[in-house]
Symmetry: C3
Subunit: 661 residues, 3 copies
């Protein structure tokens, strides 16, 4: 199947006269898919039970006439005013105990039974009406679950369901008391209904209480989406169902939330993503007009890994956004760069957001392929020039030799108790990911418990929660020859959120053959040095000292400064043909050096890429991306076969060529 | 009429014995007016219906004996405890939904019917008793409407009245849905009573919803003040009515709020104004002890322009304030400098705040003309030395040749969706205003729809909202020979808050002959360059690219950098003897250069003033103000006739001389 | 009595099997005391009236078997879930009006009658059961009163009791109106029940209202603690009662709160204390691993001064903490350094927090003497090495010649109206304290109204509130030959929170012989210069100008810059053999120079210590502490007799030697 393009459109937001010319323009631009309807509930059903489908019928017919395929959405992200008036109890409650009201979007509580019923009703009506329409090829459920901090609601409904969820999980309340360590501050419970939500406490809540509340809230989203999927599948057979997830999203478990989908899609906004990130100011300036390559591709790799298959970019930035503190114009070429990058990492379809810039309401500063006045904006020209070339690309995925392990529960545990203001789980993950990408190494990002067969190097940058089952699972691959690398805070917590009785890294200890003695959270300006690989490296932010527990584990690096002078910072244990490394420090240079060593041990090669150059491999092709303002010349043999561009890549340009076998 | 001085005094706050010496001291200092009573309700009416007027009777009599004239205030800014106890529903509600309680000031809701009744009652009693007293020459209504964020209340009363206001405005709810673009996020309404206030939404509210709520809240203040005025006029004939507005105030429409007043007055606190502004740190340090000249005079010009007539400074800082993060002593001479600056910009009376520093309650760190212990403070000596000279000054206003257009709705629309964290409507206005003042150009600041006859140069720095009516109005003056300059974001919105269908600058497009292609919100550190007037200029913060639509429009500057390389940044169109310029960039140097060009086109001259020198013209006199720590020598011909000072101006000094005819 | 060590332990948080080895380990480490039970209510009484004492009986018996002495705690800091369910009205209300719920600790309101009854019930049960147990030597009431901002509750119960407290204090409401200056913003009250709490006002509340609310809230804590003490003393005769106060704590009056205790104890966390302080970034980096010596010893001196007797450190940091933005490992030697520093300043017992690091709940990142896995952590080894040496130290206190005056009401008045964003009462105190410590001067910190006999130099850095009684008291000591030094803002307020009628320094004016003319709050970057002691000094932050009122007062320094050019900055008045100095500026160098002059006038000597060296004297011994990363060599005569260490002090080391008589 060729790689394809699409766009998000809103016929209900402009007049029929204005909209009439759009379908032909879309086809001529080379688009194949049009997403419709995710905020259209009040247009479809202006009063309870009174429907107006004409506009949507007409739009689908007109798109079909241009051979465009329709992705229809369930409109549940925006319950209408009449529904909120009739059932104010569907409104969510924020962490301060305030009800969040009608007037924007996502004003519903995942724990509201009424809202489940109303959602099911409108979805069934839409699925019955459009589910077998030949132009409708698939569905998107709702829109960006969790956006605007809506995963967790602190309502009475949530509290009641949380208590039931806890009873279901622990069966006996003594089990909960033990798991949470409730003797600590006299928190022991004797009845389920005495357990509150972990907000509005005098000081911080018990992290185990928080962890279970996060799990519960995540499960509520997953269950709600499953309900949507089941109705759609019943009435709309042979159509795909997906959901458009958000970048760097952290509030529910995307592995669980994507399990019942046909494929994953996500919304890719590179410039706003960088501006809102924790990157250095200079990085934000340097990449202001493109976003940072590794921040974007990290998400691609993560979303591909959710189901280990190709995905869609359901909303692709194609001009400036409106929701960041600063919203610059993209660089010339950026839309092409983002589109090809997405495809090189496994996107089969890239759908731009949005066709025409909205003239009214909250997003009236956001751009589209068309300007507010209907004329083509800068991004549209890039799409027009690019689209004819896509048929030369392949949709086959390449098997990778390196993977990063990622799980949401480790992220929750990490970020709810940072112990250092400037750290985060994502920051620690990216430190490893970006090192690999700078070496031209393609990686999968997968769940720790997934099948890891075939990976020669397995990297677990921040596997905060470790169970015995996980340790067994990883040991299996080490025994079979894989090299496994662990970062700081590995196994700092058991699944219940407690410190393991044997200390960190808990269950992982027997695999790496070390135990953590001390961890050191260093403020900005307070650094440390280690000696490793015959060099001296600066470390910052976080140090751990290791004790070697078994024969055959050896030190790869030692602290050179107080307070950890002469303690071990990095360890390596050979296991059959593989091995296990533990990296107890933060620091770009030392982590890069450790990964070079690990790649070597794993029998893998890497290269030193020019700054701002990124290489990605898919379907036998190499996509060379230039993320800089200057030209880059690729040092390739003259016989290289180019599918797109050539060896001199213009600023923000892309060259695609056949990989050496 | 000579220019005069006054002071704010609070006889109710000190013992009669202590107060007895004040009237004579005031007269001897050269003061003419004394403002009384704006916070005296609980002293006048300690229990409902029980009054104590003795203290006020005595005070007025004693002031009259010294030939001092009294400005009496309605005491409605501070409803007494017994009123709040009897009617807690008069309390306002903040944006988070919390009721704001008794214990400071301004604890009332403009939408409370009960509070209107109670206000009318106490005002009528006071107006009847004092309205024809020979010493009482005028009234101030309430005090600083809107202070402490009190314009907008999120109460049930406000909600009900807002719904009625909307119904009155739109008549049919479909009109409101269209105006607000409510299909956007399924926000369509079918009943007025389903429309809530735009607070506590999950994410930002619809900007059109906000804009109408801001208009409604503004109208509530205006109507409340009109009610006060009508009662006063009925019972106190031949006395003026004014209100003391606040500097850089943004929450209600001052053109509407001043329409029914006899003249405008405002409260001038230069040092705190600068400290709370968005000025650079170094500017805050350099002008810490005087405030910035242009920030202060911008307000003078704005308040003069509200009714296009002389105004009062009702509260003039005469020592340090207490409400800023840092509260330095004013420079020696600052009180004189501020007083003469005010008069040069159109103040007929400057009234100092306050006579004696308060020893108790919230403002006990604030200074007065008298120290806490009753001795003269530093400012008092400056006033004593200055007051004899005022009779040499003239109260005539000079007609200006240059005006700046300003309207509150454009400000609301601009600031509610900044699209760049560091911009603001005031910042954009001041960039233009300060350039002109550095060139010695006197300007009026007027409403865009006012009569602009006589202005050779009309500058619209930030006319965000543009209607066809406004475009017709401005075109009229361009046809008649005026040069009109527009800044960024002109016409970005229609009066309903939507983007114009033809794109920006909307209705203004046909006047300037261009359309905006792209706008670019640049983060700090991300700059751009343009070529204009044979020079290269750096731009920052905000770029727009222009497309020329008609013959005769030409480019004055082009971008030199990606992403807008070769796009047009500045345009000029000759229209009869006048013209229309569009400046699509931010940057002090380029805006200064464009204004030089516009002054030249308009046939006006300007000069290059020494840093920190400001010249203002009134009544045939030039007021030369030295805002620096060093002396300034004015390069004037020897025959120059000085009314005050001479050509060598001491630090923070003022010289006044006869203008060349 | 020898100086001794102890530890805080939680037998209820680990299994009996795990805990069994602890008592012997504790004894072998050289510990004498074990604190138990402050969070154990829900373990002791899992359901109302159902008790489980077995675990505690066993623990005490096991500790007793190792000759360890037990400090038992009342468990009232953590009411159980069943109590909150039965009586939700015991929950406190925060300043925003939100109820603070169950789920962490300190979730009770000091004004709740029900909570007093429940507290009395559980304390009586525990005191009866354990109060005469031979191993139980004393009690700690509750835990860290006021932690997490819990002194002040804005509940209905607090409001009702506050109204009664006010009526009790003022008797007639006119007295309250006068004291608070309620005419100011029409705040006059005619009924006690109309007086609200000073939260949720439109803008800031009346500072006199705040001051009385702070006093009331403080009194509530004191009364609650007294109630606890009385029950304990009744049922547990011949045992001490103490409470563990917090460092730099500001919310209630510790002089009143410690009056009924046998001795004071406090919780010493040097690294987190520095990180959360207002110290410069570079200071935070330099002392990140030890905390700053003067911040720590300031607290020691303050807590010793509360009752002018030896104290306990009830919780001593012995590894990293978990509650600071950054939580570094302590330097090697830091635990020893802190322990000996505490003892040198008057601690008789230092009790480490905690025995084993908690594996569950909120503090699972906090360290203990034992790691999470039960092995000795770094601090344990320091304790083991140190404990045998303690018997060589003496518990006698040295009489000091210099004292600093400190009172909580001055701090409240200072900090509730800073008038300069970056100032604080503690910052002003520490500017004086740290100067003295850098000169090797030992000081007492005492209440201004305490017996000051014997002090040759009395320093009042920030005596904001001054009464006539206080002025008489201080004048007495000046007459008798003491030198008294006053800092800025002295006597700025009367006890009712008003400015004195004669201006500042109010009642102190007649003692120092000056009055304050102006005060100048200077923003960062705005400085001033004075000429003093034939040198020029920079001042910053705060200037005051003085007027000399009587013969014999002379200027020690004058401003050299506008706006205070030629005004007096510092004054000195000789009184008999003593004198009174007023220092009207901020600035490390000038304050240091003034203190040198004052020490000289008082006939006292001082020395210039090497940076990072601190000397403290106790029991005839000098404790020389090295707070730096480098060695320090003490220039001592060869005959010096060392009790611990020698004249070459290692990094973070301590030497103890016999003082010259």
């Amino acid at each position: 199947m060729p790689l394809q393009l699409g766009v998000c459109d809103y016929p209900e937001q402009v007049s029929a006269e204005e909209w009439n010319v759009f379908p032909q323009q879309m086809r001529e631009m080379g688009l194949s898919y049009v997403r419709l309807g995710e905020f259209a509930w009040s247009t479809l059903e202006p009063e309870p039970g009174k429907f107006d489908f004409t506009w949507l019928d007409n739009a689908i017919t007109a798109l079909q006439a241009q051979k465009l395929q329709v992705v229809l959405c369930t409109p549940t992200a925006t319950p209408p005013a009449w529904l909120v008036e009739a059932h104010p109890e569907i409104l969510p409650v924020d962490i301060h105990g305030n009800t969040r009201v009608f007037g924007s979007r996502r004003h519903y509580d995942f724990s509201s039974d009424v809202y489940w019923q109303e959602s099911a009703r409108i979805i069934e009506i839409l699925a019955k009406r459009y589910g077998q329409h030949p132009a409708v090829v698939g569905w998107q459920t709702d829109n960006e679950y969790g956006c605007h901090d809506t995963t967790r609601s602190y309502s009475l409904a949530a509290k009641t369901k949380f208590q039931a969820w806890l009873e279901q999980k622990y069966q006996r309340i003594e089990m909960l008391n033990t798991a949470w360590g409730n003797t600590f501050w006299s928190q022991t419970y004797t009845h389920w209904q005495r357990i509150g939500l972990p907000n509005q406490t005098v000081t911080e809540a018990n992290p185990s209480h928080l962890l279970d509340f996060y799990r519960f809230s995540s499960d509520q989203v997953v269950a709600y989406d499953k309900m949507q999927c089941e109705i759609l599948r019943q009435h709309s057979p042979n159509r795909f169902v997906t959901h458009n997830f958000m970048l760097f999203f952290a509030d529910f478990d995307l592995y669980k939330a994507s399990a019942h989908l046909d494929f994953v899609s996500w919304d890719n906004y590179p410039t706003g993503m960088l501006e809102l990130s924790g990157a250095f100011e200079q990085t934000k300036i340097d990449f202001a007009r493109t976003g940072h390559p590794d921040y974007v591709s990290f998400n691609h790799d993560l979303f591909r890994g959710l189901k280990n298959k190709p995905f869609w970019v359901m909303e692709q930035q194609c001009g400036h956004v409106n929701w960041s503190p600063y919203n610059p114009l993209p660089a010339p070429g950026a839309v092409r760069l983002w589109t090809l990058q997405a495809m090189s990492h496994g996107a089969n379809v890239v759908t731009y957001f949005r066709w025409q810039a909205a003239r009214a309401a909250q997003e009236n500063y956001h751009s589209g392929l068309l300007r507010h006045n209907g004329r083509f904006d800068r991004g549209a020209y890039e799409v027009m020039r690019l689209s004819p070339h896509l048929k030369k690309l392949s949709d086959a995925l390449e098997a990778k030799k390196v993977c990063l392990l990622h799980d949401y529960e480790s992220m929750w545990a990490y970020d709810m108790q940072k112990h250092h203001k400037n750290t985060s789980y994502w920051a620690q993950m990216l430190m490893y990911y970006s090192s690999l990408r700078q070496m031209g190494v393609d990686v999968d990002i997968v769940h720790p418990m997934s099948d890891l067969t075939g990976y020669q190097l397995i990297i677990a940058p921040a596997l905060m929660i470790a169970s015995d089952e996980l340790a067994d699972h990883l040991e299996h691959y080490a025994q079979q020859g894989a090299t496994i690398v662990f970062g700081t805070r590995t196994g700092f917590r058991t699944p219940s959120g407690a410190v393991p009785a044997q200390g960190a890294p808990g269950a992982i200890s027997r695999l790496v053959g070390i135990t953590i003695k001390n961890f050191d959270s260093m403020r900005p300006g307070l650094n440390s040095r280690i000696e490793a690989f015959d060099q001296s490296f600066q470390t910052h932010t976080w140090n751990e000292s290791l004790e070697l527990l078994v024969n055959g584990v050896r030190s790869l690096g030692m602290y050179h400064d107080d307070p950890l002078y002469s303690e071990i910072a990095i360890s390596y244990r050979a296991i059959n043909d593989g091995g296990a490394m533990y990296i107890g420090v933060w620091g770009d240079a030392i982590i890069r050096r450790c990964l070079e060593y690990a790649l070597f041990r794993a029998g893998l090669t890497y290269e030193e890429l020019e700054p701002g150059l990124r290489l990605t491999r898919r379907g036998g092709l190499v996509y060379a991306q230039n993320w800089t303002r200057g030209g880059i010349s690729l040092p390739l043999p003259p016989e290289t076969q180019f599918v797109y561009g050539d060896s001199l890549i213009e600023p923000f340009g892309v060259a695609v060529y056949k990989d050496k076998p």
